[in-house]
Amino acid sequence: MIGAIFSLETIYVLTGMVLVVFAFLTLRDRTNPHRHTSALFWLILGCIFGLGGVLPNWLTGVLVLALVALDGVGRVSRGHLQTDNASQERRAHRLRNRIFAPVLTVPLVTFAFAIGYRTLGLDASRGALLGLGFGGVIAMIVAMKVTQGTARELMHAGNQLNETMGTVNILPQLLAALGVIFTAAGVGDVIAGLIQQILPDNNLFLLILANCLGMTLFTIVMGNSFAAFPVIASGVLVPLIIRPFGVNPAMAAIITLTAGSSGTLMTPMAANFNIVPAALLDLRDKYGVIKFQLPFALAIWSFHVVLLWLLAK
């Protein structure tokens, strides 16, 4: 019984319920130009979350296609943002540092669960994920206590934040699914074969160089290191470095991901981070932020190559 409550499936069901509430609030929001289709999007996502463990895979797949179709035709939008800066300022003055209590609840509970799981000899990764989920729920209660806000206000605020972030919220999950299909199709083996034709002698240093270079170049073109990671991981990192050389997978994987961050610092494709801020801060040169970041990005990239090589040897 306790095992069933403290399972990831419980957290997924809770997330699904929150999404269904968001969908309901979106449906009632007359300031949203596409409120019906937007509500449908969040409702479908809520169903996948809540029922994903029991739905047949083909049905989940069809629902995912429906989500992407709704977003693809541009029918997922957000309502008019209601922010009242003056009242936020006033409330901030009233609550002072107590306003941090709800947001700090999440990391506190996450760590508490992780430590608890480790102490009990259980999987600390699972503990952290459960902690994140239950932390979110406990934080809702703390938030209502601290602010004296209502449950309605709570969900409304959550929905507003969710709509602001929008449909890209599901992108990491879609990319992971893409990775699954790449693996099944043997895409990684094709890339690995291509690289082996260029670098025939299985030199670990050159392979690591190719791995980090590939990750960064893909990120520069796509503007997104998350999209590059599944490709590089299945095509270079796992078949050519981790598997044949027995390299620590956690170490190699996370260093490969952040090698991509150098690409993000150098590319105008990551407009949110590099181009929009230049405009926001009135820089005369719209590439001013990228130019400033360039030496930093090249230096830290080289460090990634060396670190990965030293730790892999």
Partner: protein
């Protein structure tokens, strides 16, 4: 290499081109998944002995729900924002006492790393850099007299960069942030179950170096500002 093999790479081409042309990322990724599957001869829906693309898509999506768990934290964060979370954070940022623009940028980078390590999403160019950090940095640089136009442009770029440096590397210090969870999920799909905490552990040297490099670059910025101020006197 057989033509069949090359066809399998069509999905990667779609992702590269689609994202580079700023098409809708969700649509690009799913199109790439469908095309890759079809190119390698998978059926859309399962047939005897062959798993269908749609099934794999559904299973991959459901198995990786953990990447989107943060939705559960949005109501609490949203309510805190309505009650002045940003404003109260600004009170703390204003307390940073830094003598120069470079030191302020370095301290802001450190602040973003700490925020990231706590798994929080506080910060951003629009909410912190533009209204707080940039004016504070320009103010700090002008204590010794008027700062040149050229130096101000440099300060703008530096404050924008300090947000990126702190955000990109610091966020991997929390085991439940999107990047860590993506790596965890993708590696699991490839047959390697790694520990979230090991992923965090190997981020530490990278974060340390990002701070050192940032501090060096911001110190050089200060030196440049001082030189150009002397040059105009």
């Amino acid at each position: 290499m057989s033509p069949n093999d090359l066809l399998k790479l069509s999905g990667i081409a779609i992702v590269l081109v689609g994202l580079a042309f700023r098409l809708r990322p969700t649509l690009v990724v799913v199109t790439a998944a469908l095309v890759t599957g079809i190119a390698s001869g998978m059926p859309l829906f399962s047939e005897t002995g062959k798993t269908g693309i749609v099934e794999m898509l559904g299973k991959g999506f459901a198995d990786n729900r953990l990447m989107t768990l943060f939705i559960l934290t949005l109501p609490a964060i949203g309510l805190a924002e309505q009650y002045g979370l940003q404003q109260q954070s600004a009170v703390w940022i204003r307390r940073i006492r830094a003598a120069t623009a470079g030191r302020l940028s370095a301290l802001y980078q450190l602040f973003r790393v700490i925020v990231g390590a706590l798994g929080l999403r506080l910060g951003g160019h629009a909410s912190f850099v533009r209204p707080l950090i940039l004016p504070m940095a320009i103010g700090a640089s002008e204590t010794g007299g008027k700062t040149s136009e050229q130096s101000i442009e440099k300060i703008k770029a530096a404050t924008a960069a300090s947000e990126n440096y702190g955000n990109f590397y610091g966020q991997n210090l929390a085991p439940v942030q999107a990047g860590i969870l993506l790596v965890y999920g993708v590696m699991k799909g490839l047959g390697y179950t790694v520990s979230l905490w090991d992923l965090v552990k190997y981020t530490v040297p990278i974060v340390a170096l990002s701070l050192i490099l940032g501090f060096i670059q911001f110190a050089l910025l200060d030196r440049g500002i001082r030189r150009s101020a002397k040059g105009t006197q």
